[in-house]
Amino acid sequence: MGLPSEHEDTGAGAGWGHSHERKGFFTDTSICIGCKACEVACKEWNRNPQDGDLEILGSSYDNTGSLGANTWRHVAFIEQDQERIEQARESGRRLVGLGMPGIGPRSGADAPAGAGGCGSGCGSRPGADGEPGAADRTPPDTPEFRWLMSSDVCKHCTRAGCLDVCPTGALMRTEFGTVVVQSDICNGCGTCVGGCPFGVIERRDDGTISAKGDRGRVEQDVPHHGTANKCTLCYDRLVDGQTPACAQTCPTTSIRFGDRADMVDEAASRVRQLHDRGMTEARLYGANGNDGVGGTGSVFLLLDEPEVYGLPPDPQVPTAQLPAMFRTAGIAAAGMIAATALAFLGGRR
């Protein structure tokens, strides 16, 4: 099982000579409570420095802003009114109408979403349908207002732009199918920064961290400054069989970690479950292997268009057009050579 291009670029295909299951996150934003424990646990584990200038950002409860060299998990807060909620519900419904790319092919045996079938996702509820324990299936009233929260992270793309464009080989594909920077090789050229279609990877400047107080001035050595930094999917924890710090700490299981294929399955059945409850605004992000990055290792369940969360709706790996670009460049070069040759030939006359 796998996405069309998965084995070309990830896991066994990446030259490890053995086949670990590809690992990934499933971030279910429908149960995120915005506690930001993931941000803190990530920073604690990875010893990432404090960000920002300690002023209010002006973005609801979000004072982090975006993913970057020092912040590898970022929780977005989006306040929405009723009109926007209805639009989200409608656009989600249309996605289902179109067969919802990313779900369909993998779960062909299951009943299609929205057709009344519960699939495997409902199994967690006690008691069969009809018993008092069964869920309310009537669509919820569209609330007048909602506050979306979503924890963003590196996507660990199937076709990773950062990895493709890295000139030093500092970025590598691990045996878990994740993408990791080797800071001792990275020379800080920054090419990868432009190569990431999600704006995730960033070069760390010479930040310092200091906690004041009588427990002594805690000066943290900032590791890896001057090099590119991003989420490693806690590579150092994975090699010891541990769960990444963010997933470990998440109190509501909004962040789940596991084999990427299982994550996609869980995400798909959760979308079906929500659609069954009338929440047609639910949709998958990153599970489609045919998208511009070949699908992502970190998949998301969103409750609105990706743009609302600051995610690109149609991410493209910059090297995707490389063959075509080479072809075009080749034609151009050939033309120029021909023209030059012609000029010389003409000149001889």
Binding site: I31, C35, V40, K43, Q50, I56, G213
Partner: protein, 899 residues
């Protein structure tokens, strides 16, 4: 909570302040439960709820009372449950008069003292009450432990038809008759549709097959009548049969790691371990009087054994020095002379009556109401000790507090000597945490504390050692309590006392006999003869068999849903209290779906998924021994085994000092006239008269005050910070997530006042003024109340002025006055009147001038608004109460007002 079919979160922002516990709400939701958040603000809790019901802060009793009225009028209550397990049928004393009769007061109020004599709230008995048994101090909350004052064991009179006009159910019907959806709309700002939705959700999710759960936190407790908010929910839950059953209950969410533990083994002035009251000077001079005041030997239920619990505690503390001859060293215990809560102590400091002060894990300069008064009070001390992780503001107020900046205090004038002692944090010491669900969970030391930091245990043991060394050889009897203490904890090579040895002492052990030295396995083994000792009777069993039961960590996946082998819950590892009520009067489960504990007739014992909270072999139809007290006196359906009548109390004949039933009073600084009674605010509230303290300016719609302070603000926490900030503002990873103090306002209020999003605002209360960044959000909604629009402002209170923390900001608690719930001595911090205007606040002396200018315009001073009774003579009454002819108040209240 995961088993609930409907969860009402009211008076709590559970997702933000209790995110770990909130996982069970999310679990319930995933199983199909409906989640409703009743709150002034749309918060991170609301974001995950099915429905938000915005409410005017402080009006919760109107809403809950209307729900009670609704289920009674529409006959939607759970009759079998109510009949079997509550005091609905009990007849109340003829002298009882309701607020419906007295325009907002219960019978028994004394305007002189501001207190109630609860004698007329008692159950009617065959003989008239014996005055020699009257408990003088029943009107004072600090004198009762968890059980409240005892009820004498006399046959109560009941009308099982529930028709007697003096029976509890009929009193309840009359009391809440005017609490209607229309009243809710007017007083709470909740539409009739939203009320109907809420009522329907509760009703449809209660009964045999389903259960509804309430969760609250300080959004209910921090009001002048906070205890009554909780009582109102308890009444509703009893009427709907949602107590003692899986997925039911009224969950008290605790806001720190072991706040539950610090009431069980208390840091409270009025309690001893296990909810035994602190003895009162004058009334409890003899041990028998003290024990009788907790529970008489003839009363039903487990408080009848109060003597046993008290003897075991004294024996644990004073060992061989506690003998039958000296009443188990009862005289070694200090005595109360009144309320000695944190605010009384602070007022005493202001008067120069306190020399020294230990602050352990508290930051009153930031976290307590009226911060300026707190800091001024500390400036009157001779010395104080601050033990904390960081140099918190309560340790630095003398050099960089707001009063230094304003010039009110000068460092060179302050005589207080401040000692800062670094403390180990929770990862740097072993010990137990007791959480919301009474689960005692052991944690191990992960790393040694840095530098000179030590644990509380080491600090206190060492402090005790040094004091005892200084007193050694003393012949002064007053030193005996210290010298006779059992103070022999084994010390390890780092100087750390063994925390398990303390747990063992708390658990209790056999002092003599064949098992001498062996830990007790249950409080049933405790004896009142000195042969056993135990530091906290409800914790007996936590160290059963010499094993630290709190350290058990068998994963949930390997157990059933009760997970009895994860840690240990008091009492007796019982996960749901009063679980006898999960079966019907005959002992059968109410339904297969909500099956929990039931009577197994074949084996002749109670059984089920939890430890039964009942005498295990007592049959459901056992009549109970009418002559015997304690467990033997309980009948087979007396499910509420701690109550002296075995019943859940819809009507509380004792234990509360402000009335047997929850009644709506307006917050002290509300500008809305009480829509139900002429009595505006809770008449028993505690306030303090001081020229320094603008305690109760009472902008209750009188004079021009409401125009000067036209808005109300409510305070709260956000996930990213912890209370007064000592554990978060000093950490970069947390500080960066919420770096600045902000106020939350609605777009409508921002428009009226001219506030710019993310600009600055100055908020002025009758006591102080602060500045905050402005967060304009539709999560704040103006509410239509009584023909006008009420604007509520939200203020998180984590910030403070000082250079030690990573981030700083003004302290919100500087704005709040001292008005306390008389039951609990907890301050109102949820409703305070204020003005708000754009821009930053003035600096230096100009700040005090700004505050004074507002006070002058409002016409308030330290004396205004502190009158407790506001009922005018009958002719001038504003509210028509359709009760019997109103009895005039016992004293002309105009005198009070003129005072």
């Amino acid at each position: 909570m995961a088993n609930a079919d409907c969860i009402i979160v009211q008076g709590s922002n559970m997702a933000e302040a209790h995110p770990v516990g909130f996982q069970w709400v999310m679990e319930a939701k995933a199983r199909g439960a409906r989640i409703i958040h009743v709150d002034p603000r749309f918060t991170r809790t609301t974001a995950n709820a099915d429905k938000h019901v915005p409410i005017r802060a402080g009006s919760d009793v109107v809403l809950l009372g209307a729900l009670i009225n609704h289920v009674l009028t529409e006959e939607l209550w759970f009759r079998e449950y109510v009949q079997a397990f509550t005091n609905a049928s009990t007849i109340i004393d003829e002298r009882y008069q309701d607020p419906e009769d007295l325009d907002g007061l219960f019978s028994g109020f004394d305007p002189e003292t501001g207190r109630y004599d609860p004698a007329s709230w008692a159950y009617r008995t065959a003989q008239p009450a014996d005055p020699s048994h009257a408990h003088d101090d029943a009107s004072r909350g600090e004198t009762a432990g968890a059980g409240g004052p005892p009820l004498e064991r006399e046959p109560v009179q009941r009308d099982e038809t529930l028709q007697d006009p003096r029976c509890v159910l009929q009193i309840l019907r009359r009391h809440y008759a005017r609490y209607t959806p229309e009243m809710v709309e007017e007083a709470c700002g909740i539409s009739r549709e939203d009320f109907a939705y809420l009522a329907r959700s509760i009703v449809e999710n209660s009964g045999r097959e389903r259960t509804t759960c309430f969760a609250y936190a300080v959004g209910w407790t921090q009001h002048t009548g906070g205890a009554q908010f909780i009582r109102a929910a308890a009444i509703l839950q009893l009427l709907m049969g949602n107590m003692g059953r899986p997925g039911g209950g009224v969950m008290a969410l605790r806001g720190h790691a072991t706040i539950q533990g610090s009431t069980d083994i208390p840091t409270l002035f009025n309690l001893l371990p296990g909810y035994l009251p602190m003895p009162m000077a004058g009334t409890h001079d003899r041990f028998e009087d003290y024990v009788e005041s907790i529970g008489t030997k003839t009363q039903k239920g487990f408080w009848a054994d109060a003597e046993t619990y008290a003897v075991n505690l004294l024996k644990a503390w004073w060992g061989d020095a506690a003998t039958p001859e000296n009443d188990w060293a009862f005289d070694y215990l200090p005595r109360l002379t009144g309320a000695h809560g944190t605010y009384q102590t602070m007022m005493a400091m202001l008067e120069g009556k306190v020399d020294g002060f230990f602050l352990l894990g508290q930051n009153p300069a930031v976290g307590s109401a009226d911060g300026r008064l707190q800091r001024l009070a500390m400036s009157h001390l001779k010395w104080m000790v601050v033990r904390d992780f960081s140099m918190i503001e309560s340790a630095t107020w003398w050099k960089e507090g707001p009063e230094i900046e304003s010039g009110e205090l000068r460092t060179e004038d302050i005589g207080t000597e401040v000692f800062f002692l670094p403390a180990a944090n929770h990862t740097e010491k072993a010990g137990s945490f007791t959480q919301t669900q009474r689960l005692v969970q052991w944690r191990h030391q992960a790393v040694p504390p840095p530098g000179d930091a030590v644990s509380e245990l080491q600090f206190l043991v060492e402090l005790g050692n040094r004091i005892r060394e200084r007193l050694a050889g003393s012949t002064d009897p007053r030193d005996r309590p210290l010298l006779d203490l059992t103070w022999d904890y084994p010390i390890d090579e780092h100087g750390e006392p063994d925390p398990e040895s303390v747990l063992r002492e708390i658990n209790g052990f056999h002092v003599s006999g064949p098992d001498a030295g062996r830990p007790l396995s249950s409080f049933a083994q405790m004896r009142p003869d000195g042969s056993t000792a135990g530091g906290c009777w409800i914790y007996a069993g936590v160290y059963a068999d010499g094993v630290n039961q709190a350290a058990r960590r068998r994963p949930g996946q390997e157990q059933d849903e009760t997970a009895a082998e994860w840690a240990w819950a008091w009492p007796a590892n019982r996960r749901i209290l009063y679980n006898r009520a999960s079966a019907d009067a005959d002992g059968r489960p109410w339904s297969e779906r909500k099956k929990y504990v039931w009577w197994d007739a074949e084996q002749g014992r109670w059984t089920g998924r939890d430890v039964p909270d009942f005498p295990v072999t007592k049959e459901p139809h056992d009549e109970g021994d009418p002559e015997a007290g304690g467990a033997a006196g309980l009948s087979g359906s007396d499910a509420f085994i701690m109550q002296s009548d075995g019943r859940g109390w819809l009507f509380a004949p004792s234990g509360l000092v402000d009335g047997p039933l929850p009644t709506h009073y307006e917050p002290v600084e509300s500008s809305i006239p009480n829509p139900l009674y002429d009595q505006q605010a809770n008449p028993t509230r505690v306030s303090f008269r001081s020229d320094l303290a603008m305690n109760a300016p009472g902008v209750d719609g009188l004079g021009g005050a409401a125009e000067v302070y036209p808005y109300v603000f409510t305070t709260y926490r956000v996930t990213e910070h912890h209370t007064a900030g000592g554990m978060s503002r000093f950490l970069p990873y947390l500080s960066e997530l919420q770096p600045e103090l902000f106020c939350e306002v609605s777009p409508e209020l921002a428009e009226i006042v001219g506030l710019e999003p993310y600009g600055w605002a100055t908020i002025v209360s009758p006591r102080s003024a602060i500045e905050a960044r402005v967060l304009v959000t539709r999560r704040m909604r103006p509410l239509p109340i009584a023909g006008r629009t009420v604007h509520q402002i939200g203020l998180p209170y984590h910030w403070a002025r000082g250079s030690e923390a990573v981030v700083e900001g003004d302290s919100v608690n500087d704005l709040i006055g001292l008005n306390l719930d008389a039951n609990t001595q907890i301050q109102n911090s949820k409703v305070t009147a204020c003005a708000i205007r754009p821009g930053r606040r003035p600096r230096g002396p100009a700040l005090a001038e700004l505050v004074a200018e507002h006070q002058r315009r409002a016409g308030i001073d330290a004396d205004t608004g502190d009158e407790k009774v506001t009922i005018p003579p009958p002719a001038q009454r504003r509210v028509h109460v359709p009760g019997e002819a109103p009895a005039p108040p016992t004293e002309d209240p105009t005198e009070e007002e003129d005072r």
